[in-house]
Amino acid sequence: MMINYVVALAALLFMIGAVGVLVRKNPLIMFMSAEMMWNAAALAFIAFARNYHDVTGQVMAFLIIATAAAEVGIGLAIMVAVYHRRHRLDIDEISHLKG
């Protein structure tokens, strides 16, 4: 059945994204990986929506895309602000706050 392959692909994308957030040091790449997790979820929603002939899953996919766009806008602005201060983006060096 097709649905199993699509969901397996979504799960694979989700895993790649999660591993990316956990192992990469550059906040930009980490953010990109997190967005990949979102898109994996959107893919799974669409696959299930098609399987069940139900429109709510597709609605959810659209909402995910729109929210992700808003989040990227805010996220990149914050990263630019941080980069302005340091001229380097490495999550291990951004560690002023600790304890």
């Binding site: 969901v7 979504a10 989700f14 994204g17 999660a18 957030v21 906040p27 980490m30 953010f31 997190a34 967005e35 990949m36 997790m37 979102w38 994996a40 979820a41 959107a42 799974a44 929603f45 696959a47 299930f48 929506a49 399987n51 069940y52 139900d54 709510t56 899953g57 609605v59 959810m60 909402l63 995910i64 929210t67 808003a70 989040e71 805010i74 996220g75 602005a77 914050i78 990263m79 602000a81 941080v82 201060r85 340091r86 999550i91 951004i94 560690s95 002023h96 706050l97 600790k98 304890g99």
Partner: protein, 475 residues
């Protein structure tokens, strides 16, 4: 339409506030006034709906019941206190009150959600303005806090979303109140991983112990009024929606998730309060204390009985009031522009009990309520949690609450001890100035905290009505 009027008032107020910023830039603080009035109006309007007949609206994806109304009042209190703590502080930017109102709108949406769509939208609408607010001070610490909050927020939302997708795949619907009826012929191999991912995603937001690392950094780096909103508002939103999803959608499997969440809660209480012990920065201390309190809240969910739901609902108000009191003290000690650049530490409290007795009294009431000393609201809240744990026949949870409280007591007494030191008065205590908005916040927080502790019956009555939300499945 009538039922969503509080949300519409807040959204309309936010739009009006934006228009005021653009249209009348000469009148400074106009947006703050508009949003303050809008939040108050929404609170009054929600209160008039108290006797509403519970019902589902918007194609069964939102519920109108006393539970949602109580959540609305709580988050509006958080929003109003945040606005007042940042009153006249122009260095936050004109858009500050609008972003606060939008974040509060997301929390209000979470209170009534019965479908996964408002859950997702509510959590994102709550988080996105907070990312901006965390960075609104334009300092290295603010940027770092915002970046950490953003990355962890996006990561946890991703986990939450994939869990939702799996739940949708297992049940073919996003309306989680319908899950108990479907569970018998749902695809179990998708249902359990989906539930696990959703719970992990929300516990990230609630800061339960394996997922708590981001909280102290974010609390310390963010401006104090914003930290107040994070500590009170987001805790209300995340705890409430976790209770709704688990108690409505998965009550059949309560024996499985109840015990697991209970152990996590006990771990969270003890670890959070232990880590609070060595802290010298007050906001960082409150961050760890917030982790500990998230553990207390989780007990109310884990017991899975009506007493637990009531106890959690009750606990939110004294916790929030005490947090407001302590954040107001920090805010007053920070003073004007530039004062925030160096965090308020324990040495800054030196001599406060003799030089500023009223401020010292506020901090004492807040800290004692956090610790759960009798005659404060925190004690009554913890008492009900222990009661709920015993009703659920889980004495281990009750022992965990007591141990967590004892560890917390030591952490909360350290600021008080610093305050009573006689050798000299710190610069911050000497130069501190009262502000009118600060006085309003402090009076409400202190009167509320002591009032709930001395005479809790009215609140108990309200809470027992609001947490009685099992109308959806039984009838």
């Amino acid at each position: 339409m009538r039922y969503l009027l509080p949300e519409i008032i807040v959204a309309g107020g936010a739009l009006l506030g934006l228009l005021a910023i653009v249209g009348v830039p000469k009148v400074r603080g106009l947006a703050s006034w508009i949003l303050l009035v809008a939040l108050l109006a929404a609170g009054i309007d929600a209160a008039t709906m108290w006797n509403v007949t519970p019902s589902l609206i918007v194609y069964n994806s939102m519920a109108i019941d006393k539970y949602g109304i109580a959540v609305t009042e709580l988050v509006l209190l958080a929003g109003i206190s945040t606005l007042l703590l940042a009153w006249n502080a122009e260095y936050f930017g004109e858009e500050f009150p609008v972003l606060v109102a939008l974040s509060v709108l997301g929390m209000m949406g979470l209170g009534g959600a019965t479908s996964l769509i408002p859950v997702f939208l509510g959590i994102e609408l709550l988080s996105l303005p907070l990312y901006i607010l965390a960075a609104s001070r334009h300092t290295a610490e603010g940027g770092e806090a915002a970046l950490k909050y953003l990355l962890l927020g996006a990561f946890s939302s991703g986990i939450l979303l994939f869990g939702m997708a799996l739940l949708y795949g297992a049940t073919s619907t996003l309306i989680f109140v319908a899950y108990p009826g479907i569970a018998s012929h749902a695809q179990v191999w998708l249902l359990w991983p989906g539930l696990a991912l959703v719970v992990v995603g929300i516990t990230f937001k609630l800061a339960i112990v394996p997922f708590h690392m981001w909280v102290p950094d974010v609390y310390e780096g963010s401006p104090t009024p914003v930290t107040n909103l994070m500590a009170f508002g987001t805790k209300v939103g995340a705890a409430i929606i976790l209770l709704r999803i688990l108690a409505f959608g998965f009550y059949g499997q309560a024996s499985a998730w109840g015990l697991l969440l209970g152990y996590l809660a006990v771990l969270t209480m003890i670890v959070g309060n232990l880590l609070a012990l060595p802290q010298t920065n007050l906001k960082r201390l409150l961050g760890y204390s917030g982790i500990g309190h998230a553990g207390f809240l989780l007990i109310g969910i884990a017991t899975h009985n009506i007493q637990g739901a009531q106890a959690m609902m009750f606990y939110l108000l004294p916790y929030g009031l005490a947090a407001i009191a302590v954040f107001a003290v920090i805010r007053l000690l920070e003073g004007g522009p530039g004062g925030e650049d160096r965090g308020v530490t324990l040495t800054d409290l030196k001599g406060m009990a003799y030089q500023r007795p009223w401020l010292a009294m506020v901090l004492t009431v807040g800290m004692l309520s956090f610790a759960g000393i009798p005659l404060t609201g925190g004690f009554v809240g913890k008492f009900f949690l222990v009661q709920a744990a015993l009703f659920a026949n889980r004495p281990g949870f009750a022992v965990g609450i007591v141990v967590g409280t004892l560890v917390g007591l030591a952490a909360y007494l350290r600021p008080l001890q610093a305050m009573f030191q006689r050798d000299g008065v710190s610069e911050r205590v000497r130069t501190m100035r009262w502000s009118a908005a600060g006085v309003v916040v402090v009076v409400v927080a202190v009167v509320g905290t002591i009032g709930i502790g001395v005479y809790p019956q009215p609140l108990v009555h309200i809470v027992s009505q609001s947490a009685n939300f099992y109308w959806l499945k039984g009838g």
